[in-house]
Symmetry: C2
Subunit: 434 residues, 2 copies
């Protein structure tokens, strides 16, 4: 099997996550990509205690990695503008493909970097630069390519969303929540990029370019932070049926493109108004598809690595497959499908909602509880209503913990055989979907 050789620059949070995901999921990734993706070298000043890099060559000099003739793809995860830019341009110069998670670099220097990449015939991929693990760059560049995009709006800074969620849910003041976010590691010691909207403006600049087909123009983005928001306004907004979110909004009008980051009232029943905590979401509205939404973790070690590695798979597929076989029909190579069996429903596991109509007499609940516990079924919650007028039966509603379905089938048969129970037991599955 062919192997694509990768060099990782930077072994911090995202670099470490990328290394770990490539290692842990090596087999799954090879089944998808049709080739192996091998970390041939790492450039980092320090090791990462969360990574076992035994066996992988490490250099302290990123420029040594970038010029290493063995390496096909350079992964830039050091951040910032200066060295990162030099490093990426040098990698391109040496004919390497580049994967980066660096939103600031792409938003500010992307036009120049992409032009050099075109000249040299290499790919520069940057899915991880916007909304972490959510494949929203791919959704817009490829999934919605039929559409004239009308507008997009995103919660694209997790720190800001965490602060606003806490302000709303707990009535806390901005400064107070910011301190907690810093303690939790969600916000930097200098939180300016997050709370003043600069990070969001970097990401919005990128999204607007791929949505409308315009050059990157970060310097023209309007940026307003959340530092001046008060709990009074959060509460008034709530009373009017709105939530306040820190949004990046890009809209196409006849006159041009609106490109703006600011706190925004959104009707509380919109899906995006219910995206809370550090989570990210981007709405994209196209003339054919209407409104779509993409939701997930916008930052963090492995969510961001998920996007970096997906870019690596894209590059590997481009390098090693014929165009018509680039993405196999089922996503995995045809000769690498698994024989994992489909389980019969009796072997599936779920929690269950049960509705039982019981006679209103003592001891029924004890009998029901005994039947369930004998089959290893634990009760999570129970609700008993008053007797119904006509028949004197008491509706008893139970929600169980997770259990294999055949045990529930067996319990239902035993319950229905009780004299105290009338008619069939209603059974509906329950999933937490965490």
């Amino acid at each position: 099997m062919k192997s694509v050789k990768v060099g990782i620059c930077g072994l911090g949070t995202v670099g470490g996550g990328t290394f770990n995901v490539l290692k842990r999921n090596a087999e799954e990734i090879a089944r998808r990509a049709g080739c192996t993706i091998e970390v041939a070298q790492i450039a980092a000043r320090d090791t990462n205690p969360k990574c076992d890099t035994t066996g992988t060559p490490i250099t302290a000099d990123v420029f040594e990695l970038v010029t290493n003739p063995e390496i096909d793809v350079v992964v830039e995860l050091i951040g910032g503008y200066t060295i990162a830019k030099e490093l990426v341009l040098k990698a391109i110069e040496h004919g390497k493909h580049v994967v980066t998670a660096n939103k600031a670099l792409i938003a500010v220097h992307g036009n120049e970097i992409f032009a050099r990449a075109r000249e040299k015939g290499v790919i520069v991929a940057y899915e991880a630069a916007v909304a972490g693990g959510i494949p929203v760059i791919k959704a817009i560049r490829e999934g919605l390519s039929a559409n004239r995009i009308n507008w997009l709006a995103g919660i694209i800074n997790g720190t800001g969303n965490f602060i606003l969620t806490e302000m709303r849910e707990k009535g806390r003041a901005f400064e107070d929540v910011l301190k907690e976010a810093q303690a939790l590691g969600y916000a930097e010691a200098d939180p300016t990029f997050d709370v003043e909207g600069i990070d969001a403006a970097h990401k919005l600049t990128i999204l607007a370019s791929i949505a409308f087909g315009i050059p990157l123009q970060f310097d023209k983005a309007y940026t307003e932070g959340i530092t001046k928001l008060t709990t009074a306004d959060v509460n008034y907004a709530e009373a009017l049926g709105y939530r306040i979110k820190h949004l990046g909004v890009a809209r196409r009008t006849d006159a041009g493109v609106e490109l703006r980051v600011h706190p925004t009232l959104i009707p509380a029943d919109r899906l995006i108004a219910n995206v809370n905590g550090v989570m990210n979401a981007v709405m994209v509205n196209g003339d054919a598809v209407g409104s779509t939404l993409y939701y997930g973790a916008g930052a963090g070690m492995e969510p961001t690595a998920s996007a970096v590695v997906a870019d690596l798979v894209d590059v590997a597929r481009a390098l090693s497959c014929a165009p018509q076989g680039r993405v196999p029909a089922l996503g995995f190579q045809a000769d690498a499908l698994s024989e994992l069996p489909i389980l019969p429903i009796g072997e599936c596991e779920s929690a269950y909602y049960l509705r039982i109509h019981a006679q209103d007499r003592p001891g029924v609940l004890a009998k029901v509880a005994t039947i369930l516990s004998e089959r290893g079924i634990n009760i999570e919650s129970i609700m008993q209503k008053e007797a119904e007028e006509q028949d004197g039966l008491v509706p008893m509603i139970l929600v169980t913990h997770r259990v294999v379905e055949r045990n529930i089938d067996d319990a239902i048969a035993a319950l229905e055989a009780l004299d105290d129970i009338s008619g069939n037991v209603v059974r509906i599955r329950v999933e937490q979907l965490n």
Copy 2:
């Protein structure tokens, strides 16, 4: 510029939508694809009153189209298993790439079709087969390729979700809402495929295969419909903090794969529990990325066409571009970027939330309203609170209709100049995000 020649089989809802989107967005699509996508022939028994097909050759014989040597890509939009299967296999035999929206065909005959396509070196694309315009096939096959997928769960039948939404929100009975759905055209005269979960099981079968890398096994999917759900259970679920949704669930366990479609209680605060009406959403949980969600229109003329045409762009890019240039960095070809200007914030349009602290005396509201109306600013809602204890000021909260920002800036300056107004006016933008 190169041209990729497409033949559309079927000019019903989706076929008509595909034709119209390709025509209306021809320029935008060419800017993205790097080539034009031309409808060279249509096979249809009837014309579609929503399509102006003047100038496009039409045949009544799909097999004439499929063997037409001019055509590069056959778009199968006739539906069903029998003729559709024959047609797709014949197209592959003749070396044509195929794009289809036919979930039943892929779920039941996909293994055979994909094997033939591999032998002939052609692409079979089917994004439109699952969740209409939402690019969820692409998200799983490419966007999440770094992950070992743990589970996925989707609302993937709009008719069923419409019925459950109406039952919950309006306390209506299943039969009653089904009749309305049929009258509105959401449900077929024979609603079996929708309400018994067969349509959802087709789609779930496809999603599970691409998530776990297993062959398509529709016959092993457990399928339970929504016909037996009562409003009593919908209400009890609500009282326990849950919503009932008709979900397709696929989960990887050590023993195998759970593949099941059934009504499901979900905690009411989950994002997917708040996907209402005919909308679709799919949650995908991967070991690196965690939980992600994809939301949009799951059916309809142009949403489905959006996915069909995105597949055509994918095929066109594979045929006409070098691998490293398949998807241009900004999604549009570098020489096709637009010069659309970024608007200064004063030229952007939004609705506004204004908080004004006014003296508690007569005539203030009239002055405020006059200042706004003189600048063409209409008030959507107004909320006046009691005077605050300390200073006797009355907080007055206004939400305006949409207006250009410079008019609001001007109004705020005028408001702040009033003797009756204390301090600065708080201004937050409002977006409906429909």
